[in-house]
């Protein structure tokens, strides 16, 4: 049996199909992942993301520590309390140990990392922390519910009381603020507006049930994956890992090269890679005919003997055909070939971003 979130019994009661995910028993869907997907794009859905790891970084060196630990620069957050930053945490070779979100909370920071990488992340963060005056505190007593979709914020506000609703009103996109013993972020992993709410475990089922009664669709990992893929968002272990550079995972924008005097783990390796030039890049693929692109299928590119690979592929419920992210030789043009079930199929190459805020981008 795996780890269970505070909502485990609630998922069971609501008919969730529970599967192992990174050592946690999590809902894959509650009947139809496609219906859940559409609810998020058109109305509102919610996800139990309590399995993600929340770590608070406190102490007088908190900022200096994160500036060295992360490829993006937390100094960018200085002017706005609660502002969030997406970053890779790299190894010295420039590979990605994990991707994460960090919130600036004045003299401390809140970091949210993936569940499947929890142990190695904490080991690495603690190892680097040994040289700084910082304290890392895992917040396992917090559950996390992501409420996503065009109606997500309005519905949530109607349920949480005027104090919390007032705080939600203040939130800019990619900002999170404390709200009593909750923490509410205007963040997500679906390409829709919405909130990620951290709250004490014992309050999680109450909020979940209230949201469900207000018409927010309980949604599982299946819909979460098709939504994030349509939004062109990376999934750790697929688009990047410890042997894949952020430069070939469409994460160049998350590397803060300036100021040049800021050293961060992986910087030297990335500068060398940048100087030498990239051999691969991450692109989007589209198959408008029947069939579904799948992870690990091999991509052939005209003018290059080197092969590429699909890192994530799925049927896109919003578009009605298959889409994928693929790591391919930089020589790729507007088309390429994918080996699908023994046949070479020609597919279109697009920017790795397919659907945002309910609208097709391709």
């Amino acid at each position: 049996m795996g780890n269970k979130t505070a909502l485990y019994a609630t998922h069971q009661a609501m008919g969730g199909k529970l599967v192992d995910f990174g050592g946690w028993d999590m809902p894959l869907h509650y009947g139809s992942q496609i219906e859940e997907h559409h609810k998020v794009r058109q109305h509102a859905g919610m996800f139990d993301v309590s399995h993600m790891t929340v770590v608070d970084v406190t102490g007088k060196d908190a900022k200096a520590y994160l500036q060295y630990l992360l490829a993006n620069d937390v100094a960018k957050l200085d002017s706005v309390f609660g502002k969030a930053l997406y970053s890779g945490m790299l190894n010295p070779e420039g590979g990605v140990i994990d991707d994460l979100i960090v919130y600036n909370l004045g003299d401390w920071y809140r970091v949210v990392v993936n569940c499947s990488t929890r142990e190695k992340d904490l080991a690495w963060m603690n190892k680097i922390a040994a040289n700084y005056t910082v304290t890392l505190t895992e917040r396992a007593e917090l559950a996390m519910i992501a409420v996503q979709g065009p109606q997500a914020i309005a519905i949530t506000k109607s349920l949480v009381g005027s104090d919390k609703a007032g705080i939600i009103d203040q939130l800019k996109i990619f900002q999170g603020l404390p709200a009593g013993d909750w923490f509410i972020g205007r963040t997500g992993y679906t390409g829709e507006d919405g909130l990620e709410i951290m709250l004490p475990n014992e309050q999680a089922a109450g909020l979940w049930n209230a949201l469900a009664n207000a018409g927010v669709a309980p949604s599982g990992l299946g819909a979460r994956d098709t939504l994030r893929l349509e939004a062109g968002m990376n999934l750790y272990g697929h688009e990047m890992n410890e042997s894949v550079s952020p430069l070939v995972a469409n994460m160049g924008w998350t590397i803060a090269w300036q100021p040049a005097e800021r050293d961060f783990i992986g910087r030297a390796a990335l500068e060398k890679q940048k100087a030498e030039g990239q051999l691969h890049k991450l692109v989007g693929l589209v198959l408008r005919e029947r069939g579904v692109l799948r992870a690990e299928q091999i991509v052939s590119v005209e003018g290059s003997d080197e092969k590429g690979v699909i890192t994530s592929g799925t049927f896109s419920p919003s578009l009605g055909y298959s889409i994928a992210l693929a790591r391919v030789p930089v020589a790729i043009g507007s088309h390429c070939q994918v080996e699908m079930r023994g046949k070479q199929i020609i597919v279109d190459v697009v920017a790795p971003n397919f659907v945002r805020n309910g609208k097709a981008l391709i």
């Binding site: 869907h29 139809s32 496609i34 299946g222 029947r290 069939g291 579904v292 799948r294 799925t314 049927f315």
Partner: protein, 130 residues
């Protein structure tokens, strides 16, 4: 527990067969199979007039999650396919044994079905896989 129909024959790869009154045989995938696949998005059936054979791939079903080959329980000529699945593949999820059938075969030798699992064998198989 998934639905298992007493009157049908089964393969360990989770297809079912029903002998119709005219002696033809209808093939589909089981309730267990559709549940394991999740939302079905494409179904590829053999062409009417083509031949299918036991042990050879006769079609493909693709869900959001995975692709799976479809096998027949009897060899013979394909006399009908379920065209409705092209526009409504989700019918496989909602009605795997009725509206969600895949194709119909005029069998060369109906006794091939003796090799298939009956409902009780199939139930035992599912329980052993749990």
């Amino acid at each position: 527990m998934s639905d298992i129909r007493k009157e049908l024959k089964y393969l360990s790869s989770h297809e079912w067969a029903r002998v119709e009154e005219d002696g033809t045989v209808t093939i589909g995938i089981t309730d267990h199979a559709q549940d394991a696949l999740g939302d079905v998005v494409y179904v590829e059936t053999p062409e009417v007039g083509s031949r299918v054979a036991v042990g050879e791939e006769a079609g493909v079903v693709e869900s959001v999650k995975a692709a799976s080959d479809i096998y027949t329980l009897v060899s013979g000529e394909v006399i009908a396919v379920n065209e409705a699945l092209q526009d409504a593949p989700e019918t496989v999820n909602s009605s795997p044994y009725d509206d969600g059938w895949f194709f119909r075969v005029k069998p060369d030798d109906l006794s091939e079905l003796d090799e298939a699992l009956d409902a009780e064998d199939y139930r035992d198989l599912l329980e052993s896989e749990e």
